[in-house]
Amino acid sequence: MVTDAAGRSIRPRPASVIAVVWLYLGGSWAFMGIVMGWLSTAMLGFLHVRPLAEVPSDITFLWCWFLAITAVGAAGIRGALGLLKLKASGRALLEKVNWLSAGLFATFGFYSAHSLLSSQWTTDTELKLAIYSVFWTGISSVPFLWMGKALRGREVRNACDAAHD
């Protein structure tokens, strides 16, 4: 790894920025996913003990959603720690995590739109909400696409390759 006399590492700017962003995001996603996933599980158990007339199917989707968020957050932290040390494995993992996050946001948007539009008669308000949900989740996935592209770029890849030659 490229270091100064005191052993502090030198990284390209995108690597530093993306690693720090993912340390924050990964921590909050993993933590939120664990707590909310546990609550969703408790809610599923609660509905099993005291069945309602109709079990909301969204709870099953939310459970899967929070599980995915937890897994992505944990992988993000691991990749970010690797990228801070300019490890090629960390860079590759974080790149995958970014593509996956963009995919998760898109899935959430399309699922919401599908839920809103699946009734027999769709109102104008439901149609507008479906369009908003796809639009805003699409916008939210742009930073992840940017980070994935930057991690795939020559600057970060060369730095990782040079660091452990």
């Binding site: 006399a5 502090r8 590492s9 700017r13 530093s16 924050y24 609660f46």
Partner: protein
Amino acid sequence: MATTDIPDLHALAARQRSQAVAWTQRDVWLTAAFMTLLLGPFGVLFGAASLISMRGLRRAISEEQTEISARRLRRGRLLVLVGLGLSVCLNLAMLVRFYMTYSAMAAEFRPPAQEASDGN
């Protein structure tokens, strides 16, 4: 006789390297300060204070004012870490409160009573 100054290449390389480290540190702690801004009330307070305290860091690094840049970086880093710690504590407290409120609601929940049959 004309004399030629021979630059000390090792010293030059060391100086460039230490400046590159300062740029890397600046990238890391500016990003951390910005992310801290998003962590709630304490995050906004300390993240903004950290960003303000790191103002002029770019000029200090490019003009090789090592002491000034190190001092600004140290102050920004301290503010980020304090803001991060306080925000995590506050968010944990809010989560515990959320959990206690909803678990109390769930404990009191009774399914709606079925309508009595009229015998037909």
